[in-house]
């Protein structure tokens, strides 16, 4: 079938990218700085893509993604540092713990709409952060030192799985149900869709991958502190999703890559860095209010390109 061919193209392309980069890292062509930037980028993409499922696909305005990142980071750190579990197990359990946290947060709050939901999720994320702040077992404000275990390979595999699962989910009847909830909740309900179930499901899946990202995050930056997971972190993730184009997974990826590059590049201008960064944000939004890619995906462009007179085709 056509869809499965698409999958294989995607898979081969992904493996090629992975191999090329891995080769450059082990061959010493990419120094530590670049490989670390790539890892950072990968983690950010996972965060953006998982939030995209919640906001872009299901239309639930969550401002609490950093909370699930925190759960993943802390749980995985406890597992590797205190319980000496292998990293892979820590990654998985971190995802599951974050998904559970997603359920706990989602079930009461997803009945709220719009900004009320935003503030409730923000509140939950802050509560999560404050809980970690007050647990001495994980170091309180001083945080927890974590061994560096994240590698490009781990990052890539997790990223690949994240994208694959979310793309496949989106392009299924379940994903369509989520989009229907986004487009018109009342009509979705009237069409027999259990809107609460799908909202919570999307939220839990999104949280799961945020948790996985958290595990990679914790094991990449040597230390985790509650201060790293404040609401500004949630906003950073939100920016990726919106800047790329709400509803476009490709957009979320492109925006994350671009912003990470911009941010890295701006390190050379420490005093004006945030000024330029904020100007970039404002200008992009002013000139591309629908985000860099609007609702388009790479595959849409590909189709348009292969079928020049194909008009407006929309997949998903």
């Amino acid at each position: 079938m056509k869809k499965s061919k698409q999958f294989w193209v995607f898979a081969v392309l992904a493996i090629a990218i992975y191999a090329a980069i891995q080769f450059m890292i082990s061959g010493g062509f990419l120094n530590n700085f670049y490989s670390n930037t790539l890892i950072f980028m990968g983690i950010n993409i996972m965060l953006a893509v998982s939030l995209h499922l919640v906001i872009g696909i299901t239309g639930q305005f969550s401002l609490g993604h950093a909370g699930f990142l925190a759960v993943g980071a802390y749980v995985s750190a406890i597992l590797t540092m205190k319980l000496d579990l292998p990293f892979i197990a820590a990654i998985l359990i971190a995802g599951i713990a974050a998904a559970l946290a997603g359920l706990v947060v989602g079930i009461p709050s997803l009945r709220l709409r719009g900004d009320y939901l935003a503030i409730a999720t923000l509140g939950f994320a802050e509560i999560i952060r404050i809980i970690f702040l007050n647990i001495d077992y994980v170091g309180g404000a001083a945080g927890m030192q974590v061994t560096h275990l994240t590698t490009w390979t781990y990052t890539f595999i997790c990223l690949f799985v994240t994208i694959l699962v979310i793309v496949n989910f989106t392009n299924s009847r379940h994903g369509r149900a989520c989009i229907a909830v986004r487009e018109n909740e009342i009509a979705a309900d009237a069409m027999g869709i259990n809107t609460t179930y799908y909202k919570v499901l999307a939220f839990a899946i999104g949280s799961f991958f945020a948790g996985v990202a958290g595990a990679l995050y914790a094991h990449n930056f040597y230390i985790i502190q509650p201060a790293n997971f404040g609401f500004l972190k949630s906003i950073d993730i939100l920016i990726y999703v919106v800047l790329g184009g709400l509803g476009s997974l490709s957009g979320a990826i492109v925006a994350t890559i671009l912003l990470t590059i911009v941010s890295t590049f701006l390190q050379d201008f420490p005093e004006t860095r945030m000024i330029i960064y904020s100007l970039v944000l404002i200008i992009v939004m002013l000139y591309r209010p629908k985000g860099l890619m609007g609702k388009m995906e790479f595959t849409d462009y590909l189709k348009m390109w292969m079928k020049p007179k194909g008009g407006s085709q929309h997949e998903q």
């Binding site: 010493g28 120094n31 530590n32 700085f33 670390n36 930037t37 950072f40 702040l133 007050n134 309180g140 404000a141 001083a142 945080g143 030192q145 560096h148 995050y217 990449n220 930056f221 040597y222 230390i223 985790i224 502190q225 201060a227 790293n228 404040g230 890295t264 390190q267 420490p270 005093e271 860095r273 945030m274």
Partner: protein, 373 residues
């Protein structure tokens, strides 16, 4: 770290007539005020040194990176400084957390890292108790000031029942509170109230009300002047008139403005130095800073400034810009006179500095006692 063996060979900057020093500070984000203050102090010192002909004829070139008060960014910045910029050493970060985030990188890349104000013991000694070979600090560690304050309260002020009001978001503050408590209880005193606040709060009245009803004779407030100024002011407004005491985090001319001279009467701090110390170096620094920035320096300015001189001394003694030699020289620093006091380093890379106890009297910081480690 397999690609790091080119460290000594290919790093072009090391043979040039410049010494590249990385600066990895909180220039934006939540604690930008600490980072920017230190950056000012650092810049002043570097300008001075360069105007004087540099270190062994080589000019210092700073490579500044803003870590946005975020540990992840700090890690990233440290990697950039070590692997891209090939700096000789890194100064930063202002907070312990962001410094710890770089410690491993400094060790792996054999680049000395000096935190001007990372006071937590874990900055230089990791959780397993091993010393981070390449990591140093300019400031005291927390326990030392806590001990000094506890002894001062118990012996000099002779109080028995005290309260502690610390900043839960800061490991600095928590560390001080813990060591104060331990030593004060050892000295036979009693802690009748232990309360916390969170940095960036502005209203402390409800907790102060609680403290007041515990009737302490003395309150230890280890925190940064931004909050302490408000705490002192609000405490006095609420009729709490017992002696208050803090540590070097209090040191800033702004504290006086925030709290008001009256409120600050009957308060004490431990500090590295006294800015009205007649000692020439301190006065010269004060004047120069005033001239350059149009304001009086605070502790962060001074620590940033001193960090550059600490490094300069090590490079001169190492006689080379080889990182390992600089590290060795840093570890042997002994009796170096800095603005923030006479500095030596112990085997845990903790500084051995004398502390001064200052008292605020009608808007003036007055020298009270000097305590040697």
């Amino acid at each position: 770290g397999c690609s790091q063996d080119d460290k000594d060979g290919a790093s072009g900057s090391k043979d040039s007539d410049e010494i590249k020093i990385g600066v990895n500070l909180e220039l934006s984000g939540a604690v930008a005020s600490y980072g920017t203050s230190e950056a000012d102090g650092i810049q002043l010192a570097v300008d001075e040194i360069n105007d004087d002909g540099g270190i062994d004829g080589k000019k210092i070139k700073l490579v500044k990176i803003d870590n946005k008060s975020d540990a992840a960014e700090a890690t990233n910045a440290a990697i950039k400084l070590t692997t891209q910029e090939n700096v000789v050493a890194i100064i930063g970060a202002a907070t312990s957390g962001a410094t710890v985030a770089q410690a491993q990188i400094a060790n792996d890349n054999k680049t000395p890292l000096i935190s001007p104000s990372g006071t937590s013991p874990t900055v230089t000694v990791n959780e397993k108790g091993e010393v981070n070979e390449f990591v140093f600090r300019t400031s005291f560690i927390d326990p030392f000031q806590g001990t000094v304050a506890a002894n001062f309260a118990a012996n000099d002020l002779g109080v028995k029942n005290v309260a502690i009001f610390s900043d839960n978001a800061s490991d600095y503050s928590k560390g001080l509170a813990a060591s104060f408590k331990e030593d004060f209880e050892k000295a036979g005193g009693k802690v009748v109230a232990e309360e916390s606040y969170v940095a960036k709060d502005s209203d402390f009245r409800s907790t102060l009300t609680r403290i007041k009803s515990a009737k302490p004779e003395f309150i230890f407030i280890p925190g940064y002047y931004e909050e302490v100024g408000l705490i002192v002011k609000q405490a006095r407004e609420m009729g709490i008139d017992v002696p208050l005491m803090g540590a070097d985090g209090w040191d800033s001319p702004t504290l006086m403005d925030l709290a008001g001279a009256d409120a600050l009467n009957n308060t004490f701090t431990t500090n590295h130095y006294s800015s009205d110390d007649p000692d020439g170096a301190v006065k010269a620094f004060n004047d120069k800073f005033n001239e350059e920035y149009g304001k009086s320096p605070d502790a962060f300015n001074a620590l940033g400034y001193d960090t550059v001189y600490l490094l300069k001394d090590a490079i001169e003694r190492a006689g080379s810009v080889d990182s390992t030699k600089i590290k060795d020289a840093l570890a042997e620093t002994d009796g170096l006179d800095l603005v923030t006091g006479n500095y030596s380093v112990d085997e845990n890379h903790h500084p051995i500095k004398s502390a001064t106890i200052l008292e605020y009297k009608d808007g003036e910081q007055v020298f009270n006692t000097k305590v040697n480690p």
